[in-house]
């Protein structure tokens, strides 16, 4: 993984800690929606809001539905921030 992506992953980690308060889960590039029980459609909106505010980006309508795992989110952010 590139340095840029490592930095993004690092920030995402703290956003995930902020968003999902319930479960014990280990966060990594491989984390998916299946790993976090609390990651449902409602908390997905909170996650989205936090990521957009934190990185100063806006996701497209069709991108939001695809953000079901950490690696996709990292890729999307990497492309947007480039």
């Amino acid at each position: 993984m590139s340095q840029d992506k490592e930095a993004i992953l690092d920030q995402l980690n703290s956003i995930f800690q902020d968003t999902f308060t319930e479960d014990n889960y280990s966060f990594s590039i491989n984390t998916t929606r299946d790993d976090i029980e609390e990651w449902d459609s409602l908390s997905h909106i909170r996650l989205l809001t936090a990521i957009e505010a934190n990185f100063g980006v806006q996701f497209d309508l069709d991108e939001i539905g695809n953000m079901i795992d950490v690696s996709t989110i990292v890729d999307l952010l990497h492309a947007k921030l480039a």
Binding site: D18, T21, I45, R46, L48, T49
Partner: protein
């Protein structure tokens, strides 16, 4: 404004404090402290979860520190996301809210089915959270002339829903105005042509506002909120298309805050008094250093105009019934000279009920102001430009509201306004006269110093009292008193306008509204009594009195009147109840002082009986005038 800038930003260890909440020594105080911060959705959610994990005992202690409110919600959108923010905002505003939510799109079903979840939930109010998507405004735009206008159609639909909740569920409705999305078709003509979205929304909102003003329902002016923040910011189409969330998520905390402020106002928790600093708050500069000519206030000077705008705001608040006071570190004479001599000043000395300028610490002075006016610190807002003063006062007086302000005085006003401390749900004759009354009170206190005895003082007041049963004329003020009186309130039962109307018409209840005049002016309605009729006994369900007139033996005059009425109706016994709250310790011995006997006492209630035939009339020095109860 989405980040609630009048509140402090959360401390860096906010997450950790939420995690440690269960182990905190005073978890209730800690919840109050954490809820006071400007919290994002995620932070509100974290605190909400942490409260959920507290022991039942701690949660019950928390509830007891707040005023309960049961709120139903119907919506054409997804509201579940907002519940943690609504609950936390409610705590911030002194309310223990219980939200009964329904699936989205169930508005008509909930309203029109008398056996529906909300209609049977015994709610205090229902929020009808509809936005423009809930009505066929867009589809109906090209309907041919002669048909019913989309705005009328939508208004009638909402009216039916409101009426149905009132009739079937016995609750008041909180109805929303409609914000206008950033869509248009013919540009400037959209406001002019019947049927087009912009004109429809304008007319719908106008009709709703007019109708609500003369009903028991309450307006949640979402259109004004969106006007403040901007429609392009508020509406997020992605959220709507994906999840039916009616606004951009970042605005959830602001929506929740304004909703719960409205609920708090229904429970009489709006602020009553504005405490103002002077130097760099009401004018630019420091009068003690810069001199009368050196300060900046008034037209023709940019900084002076920014402070003039704040004075204009305060003046209007005063006209709406907010009590103005001053708390400043200054020599009194130097401070007063500005009000007397500076031509740029809009506010004058007599706009303030209490004026404190000295060198003592501000917390002590603000406590003195509260005592002089006989109101709680939780009913006061302290505005000071100095962050250090704000910090000290906040620490010393945690119940006091102390808004954050930026460095730039031109930004003060919008933040003070956005803080919505003085939410009103009504405007009564008493509001219009409040400041005059408090000024008279200050003069009364002067007399108190010179009168030899309390009896002489009371006699010198030349008080006149009048009693009448509840009626339409007094209804709004009765509801206001019932919902905001905390100290002289024996049972602290809160009732809506609908309830009060029922007491008015029900033979099973005896009601009294009490007005008091004295030589300084008309105090207006100051006391309310509601008795439930049992065979030969009246149970005093509610007895409350405005703190403006305590220690004047008014309650004795009221008791004399009650006994006289009871005797006339062949009633042999009056039964009184004292239900303790954090605020009403003042009246713990109320019934004993009137000659009632305590027949039962436990943690939640003391019960007192009075055999009417043995009562000694108290005959305080108050003349009864035109009572329409006993002819």
């Amino acid at each position: 404004m989405h980040d609630l800038p009048w509140l402090l930003a959360p401390s860096d260890d906010f997450n950790e404090r939420c995690i440690q909440l269960g182990r905190h020594q005073t978890p209730v105080a800690e919840v109050h402290a954490l809820a006071k911060y400007a919290l994002s959705i995620n932070q509100a959610n974290r605190l909400y979860q942490a409260i959920g994990k507290l022991t039942a005992e701690t949660r019950s202690l928390l509830s007891r520190s707040l005023t309960p409110f049961r709120l139903g919600i119907v919506s054409n959108a997804t509201m579940d996301l907002m519940i943690p923010s609504i609950v936390i905002s409610a705590i911030r505003n002194g309310i223990d809210i219980e939200v009964v939510s329904t699936d989205f799109g169930q508005v008509a079903q909930e309203a029109f089915d008398a056996g529906s979840k909300l209609n049977t939930a015994r709610l205090d109010a229902v929020l009808i959270a509809l936005d423009y998507h809930a009505y066929p405004f867009l589809a109906d735009q090209l309907s041919t002339s002669g048909e019913v206008l989309p705005s009328d159609k939508a208004f009638d639909y909402l009216k039916q829903i409101r009426d149905s909740f009132k009739q079937s569920g016995g609750m008041i409705c909180i109805a929303q105005t409609l914000a206008e999305p950033p869509y248009e078709f013919g540009g400037n003509f959209d406001a002019q042509l019947d049927g087009l979205l912009r004109k429809s929304l304008t007319e719908f909102n106008r009709a709703l506002v007019d109708d609500i003003r003369s009903s028991v329902d309450v307006l949640f002016d979402v259109a004004a909120l969106v006007n403040m923040v901007g429609a392009c910011q508020w509406f997020d189409e992605r959220q709507w298309y994906l999840s039916r969330v009616p606004m951009a998520n970042v605005f959830v905390p602001l929506y929740a805050e304004y909703l719960t402020k409205l609920v708090a106002a229904l429970r009489g928790k709006s602020k009553k008094c504005l405490v103002l600093d002077l130097d760099n708050t009401l004018w630019g500069g420091v009068v003690g250093d810069d001199g009368l000519e050196g300060i900046q206030i008034g037209q023709g000077n940019p900084v002076g105009e920014s402070f003039l705008a704040i004075q204009q705001w305060a003046k209007t608040l005063k006209d709406l019934g907010v009590i103005l006071t001053v708390c400043s570190k200054n020599d009194e004479n130097i401070a007063l000279e500005v009000f007397r001599k500076h031509s740029g000043m809009l506010l004058k000395e007599n706009d303030f009920a209490v004026f404190v300028a000295n060198w003592e610490d501000k917390a002590t002075n603000i406590r003195f102001i509260a005592e002089t006016l006989n109101i709680g610190l939780d009913a006061m807002v302290f505005v000071d430009d100095n962050p250090a003063e704000r910090e000290i006062v906040r620490t010393m007086l945690p119940e006091l509201t102390v808004p954050e302000l930026p460095k730039d005085s031109s930004q003060f006003l919008r933040i003070l306004c956005a803080g919505r401390f003085f939410e009103k749900i009504d405007f009564t004759e008493d509001d219009a006269q409040r400041n005059a009354q408090y000024l008279s009170n200050a003069r009364r206190q002067e007399i108190q110093k010179t009168a030899a005895t309390l009896e002489d003082y009371l006699a010198s007041l030349e008080m006149y009292i009048s009693f009448s049963p509840f009626n339409e004329l007094g209804r709004k003020r009765i509801v206001q008193l019932i919902n905001k009186t905390n100290q002289f309130n024996l049972t602290t039962r809160r009732y809506t306008e609908t309830d009060v109307l029922q007491f008015e018409n029900d033979q099973q209840y005896v009601t009294l509204q009490i007005e008091l005049q004295d030589k300084f002016g008309d105090n207006g309605m100051i006391s309310v009594v509601i008795c439930k009729v049992h065979q030969d006994r009246w149970d005093i369900d509610t007895w409350l009195m405005s703190c403006r007139v305590i220690k004047r033996r008014v309650e004795e005059a009221v008791c004399d009147q009650l006994v006289a009425l009871a005797r006339k109706s062949g009633i042999s016994k009056l039964r009184g109840f004292y239900r303790p709250t954090e605020k009403n310790g003042l009246v713990k011995e109320h019934y004993r002082q009137l000659g009632f006997d305590c027949i039962c006492s436990d943690e939640s209630e003391d019960i007192w009986d009075l055999a009417v035939e043995h009562y000694q009339m108290k005959n305080p020095p108050i003349t009864v005038r035109k009572s329409s109860v006993i002819q």
